[in-house]
């Protein structure tokens, strides 16, 4: 395995980390409207991710930065090609971050309501768009011989990619509901579990179609294995949720995300962005990668830094391990 292959795996790891972690906090954002009955419950949900969402989002920045360093052409083609969807994602991430921090900082009803809407939409839209983006990456887009994206916005909104978007949206929302059941107390915990069942079924249907389509189009035996893991984990997550095993349900919904994203990357390799115009023009791990020297330095950094990050982020989850209920939410505005 050469260094650019290692980096393909590491980029996949960063994206998997991002979708695993931000997946449930996007889900929580969506659930503020689907699950919470009143403001106190909304706040319970938001506060389950309060201390951690920002750290979760850095997985995206790391994936972006690492792609820039390890595969500059991938970074350049992807972000200049998917310009408008990415713009929308960035706007959502900006609004979302500010919304969490500022929502409780004024008592006015309209202020709080507006930021709550912002949290809902700015969680829902990226959760959908990331699936669209990855669907397009896997499917292949119009890339010319100079590695430039030559399609337009509508080319990105094809049925396969939109289905991918619906899968990430429902899967993240399911993951969020399972997380909510794990982290909350009282009535909302029960309802989170009930909602998780319904979301899980919808997710399972959509995911099966999307992953099956992917497998039929691009798959091989390893991707098939990943797909089976994803589907089995999803079904098991639904079962664990029904059995009231919330920790297991969360771990399994996490494994679903890990396996599904891994499957997409497996079907991609050795391409990083296939061209739908001509196979020769596809960006590959070799044609898009950095020099061996840069990859070597980056490898040292990633190999040392990533485990440390995982340790202290895991510690954060342990510090905030207690469940939250409406009794823990102070009335006063901060």
């Amino acid at each position: 395995m050469e260094l650019h292959d290692v980096w393909f795996v590491l980029i996949a790891v960063l994206w998997i980390g991002y979708f695993f972690l931000e997946g449930f906090d996007f889900g929580i954002g969506v659930l503020t409207r689907l699950l919470a009955r009143d403001r106190a419950e909304k706040r319970v949900l938001i506060n389950t991710i309060g201390p951690v969402w920002d750290g979760n989002e850095v997985w995206l920045l790391s994936a972006g930065g690492a792609t820039f360093a390890a595969f500059p052409d991938w970074y350049a083609t992807l972000f200049s090609g998917f310009y408008l969807p990415l713009l929308l994602i960035l706007v959502c991430l900006i609004v979302r971050g500010v919304a969490f921090e500022y929502r409780a900082k004024r008592p006015e009803e309209s202020w709080q309501r507006n930021w709550e809407s912002a949290i809902f939409w700015s969680s829902l839209i990226p959760a959908f768009l990331w699936g669209v983006a990855f669907g397009n990456i896997v499917r292949g887009v119009k890339i010319d011989r100079d590695m430039e994206y030559v399609g337009n916005l509508w080319d990105l909104l094809n049925p396969y990619a939109i289905l991918g978007g619906l899968v990430t949206l429902t899967l993240f929302t399911f993951h969020g509901a399972v997380f909510a059941a794990l982290k909350t107390l009282g009535d909302i915990r029960e309802r989170a579990r009930q909602l998780a069942l319904r979301l899980g079924v919808v997710t399972a249907v959509l995911a099966l179609v999307f992953l099956g389509w992917t497998q039929a189009d691009k798959g091989d035996s390893t991707s098939l294995a990943a797909m089976i893991v994803a589907v089995v984990a999803l079904v098991a997550a639904i079962g664990a949720n029904q059995a009231g095993r919330e920790g297991w349900a969360f771990a399994l919904s996490g494994i679903t995300i890990v396996a599904a994203v891994a499957m997409l990357f497996l079907t991609l390799f050795p391409n990083v962005m296939p061209s739908s115009l001509n196979d020769e023009w596809s960006l590959t791990v070799t044609s898009a990668s950095s020099s061996p020297y840069t990859l070597k330095i980056m490898t040292w950094c990633a190999v040392i830094a990533t485990p440390v990050v995982v340790i202290y982020q895991a510690w954060t989850y342990w510090v905030f391990r207690k469940r939250i209920g409406t009794q823990h939410i102070a009335e006063a505005v901060h």
Partner: protein, 502 residues
């Protein structure tokens, strides 16, 4: 195509807007993180409640500010790929590495420990809670260092070679990229300026309250801390600016000639106080100068030759081929002056303030006040300022909170525009760096979207800051004074409301 709307022009405007805006928050984040950590350290060590109240007050303003810094930083990370894809392809091998290091090492640090700090008041023993804030502070400084090393490489590319076959720059010495003198001097200069900014922010807000005789105990401490920070930060900013200036004369003579509107080389070279010139003809119509000073700034003596704009332009034409290698001279010239002018005004106000509010033992008996009284502003050895002058000092001190922000912005505009037409000096021109596949409409769309969003958020942020500034430091609660002894919170607190919740 109309030049004003050329993709390069639009992309540059967008980069300028998003970057200057982002950098309004960055220096405050860097310095307030350290200052808040310092105040919390004082609380943990002394148990004096005024330090905890100060920590909570400045910590809240810090959080309102860092939220904006973080979210606008996301755009920074991705806009290279969006608007500058040819730049990304050409330099990614070199430039990408410090960015990735920044994310993997610094961003994770900052964002994880800030979460622990915000929500950790009732979940962490106080020493661990304090350690989290120091971690955030270390994260902000590391982050600054990596990104400044990346920027320094654009100012003075080192440790790379050009791979003709792949048509790009490739890294050969990462350590050199991280430790070249440009990077060290830029980091030194930017970090000192960050502390000048945060110090001035503290001074301004403390002055606002002291002028109204409110929250005196906390605000006196804050004023003192702010003034000392302004003076130390300001002096280091000046020293590092001089160091950086000398490096720039070596590495980018055009930028410094433009900064001085020095059209033709002179020995000794004068420092320009005011100039108004004709860019097309290449000379100044009006110029007020201090003889020899520029030679001193550039070379440490009063007689050395300093090359002018026309000389460097000619030399670059010989080296890189025909073209105009001059940046926008008025922007460079005035940007340089606004940077120094506003920054040093803050330093002066800080120095004056430090003297006016000097320690008790330097004051005669009748001008000494108790801890809960507003200090006299004592200019002469034995005489305090009258009410009018006192009012004016507080007013000016309040205004000074904005000065370093202006200075910082102009500093970046100067150093980035002064490097034009290069994006990587001597290696890649800006016009060759834009995304060829991105349409004018797309760039225009994103520019309008970001500018509008940023403008709205600016209004919201400033109003929110004003609200919490006016509210002053919070009263402490029982829970504040009895932090938990166990990680995760004490069991007796199991059903209590969280100390902080969104």
């Amino acid at each position: 195509m109309d030049l004003a709307l050329a993709p390069e022009t639009l992309a540059r405007w967008q980069f300028g807007i998003t970057t200057v805006y982002h950098f309004l928050f960055v220096p405050l984040t860097i310095s307030l993180a350290a200052l808040t950590a310092g105040l919390e350290t004082a609380w943990v060590r002394t148990g004096n409640e005024k330090y905890l109240r100060a920590t909570k007050f400045w910590g809240k303003l810090f959080l309102i500010n860092i939220a904006m810094g973080v979210v606008t930083g996301i755009v920074q990370e991705f806009q290279f790929g969006m608007n500058w894809s040819d730049y990304s392809r050409f330099v990614g091998d070199v430039f990408g590495a410090p960015l990735a290091f920044e994310a993997l090492i610094a961003f994770f640090f900052e964002s994880t420990f800030i979460g622990l700090w915000i929500f950790g008041w009732d979940k962490l023993p106080k020493k661990i809670h304090l350690a989290c804030m120091w971690m955030v502070s270390i994260g902000t400084i590391l982050s600054a260092y990596f990104i400044l090393a990346a920027n320094s490489w654009m100012q003075h590319p080192v440790g790379y070679r050009i791979n003709e076959q792949r048509g790009r720059a490739e890294l050969t010495d990462f350590w050199l990229v991280l430790t070249q003198n440009t990077a060290l001097a830029q980091a030194f200069h930017t970090l000192s300026a960050a502390f000048l900014t945060g110090g001035a922010f503290m001074v301004g807000i403390a002055a606002f309250h002291l002028a109204r005789k409110k929250h005196i105990l906390v605000m006196k401490t804050s004023l003192r801390l702010g003034l000392v920070t302004v003076v130390i930060g300001g002096m280091f900013t000046a020293i590092s600016g001089d160091v950086l200036g000398k490096i720039m004369y070596e590495q980018q003579p055009m930028k410094m000639a433009a900064a001085e509107a020095l059209w033709d080389g002179e020995a000794p070279a004068p420092f320009s106080v005011f100039a108004y010139g004709d860019v097309d003809k290449g000379h100044n119509k009006v110029a007020i100068e201090i003889p020899g000073l520029l030679s001193f700034l550039a070379k440490d003596d009063f007689s050395s030759y300093v090359p002018g704009i026309n000389d460097v332009n000619k030399a670059e034409q010989e080296r890189y081929g025909p073209g105009d290698y001059r940046p926008n001279i008025p922007v460079a010239y005035w940007g340089f002056r606004w940077m120094i002018g506003f920054g040093m005004t803050s330093l002066t106000i800080g120095l004056v303030g430090l003297w006016l509010t000097r320690k008790k033992f330097l004051l005669p008996q009748h001008l000494r006040v108790g801890d809960d009284e507003v200090p006299y502003l004592v200019l002469l050895p034995r005489k305090a300022l009258g009410p009018t002058l006192t009012k004016w000092y507080w007013r000016i001190a309040f205004l000074t909170l904005g000065f370093p922000l202006i200075a910082n912005s102009w500093g970046w505009i100067f150093t980035e525009m002064g490097r034009q037409p290069w994006v990587v000096y001597g290696v890649l021109q800006t016009r060759d760096a834009v995304s060829p596949g991105v349409s004018q409409g797309e760039v225009l769309t994103s520019m309008i979207v970001f500018t509008t969003l940023y403008a709205i958020l600016a209004v919201i942020e400033v109003k929110l800051l004003a609200k919490y500034i006016k509210a002053g430091p919070p009263e402490l609660t029982e829970a504040d004074l009895n932090p938990p002894t166990k990680i995760g919170g004490d069991s007796r607190d199991a059903d209590k409301p969280m100390a902080f919740s969104y």
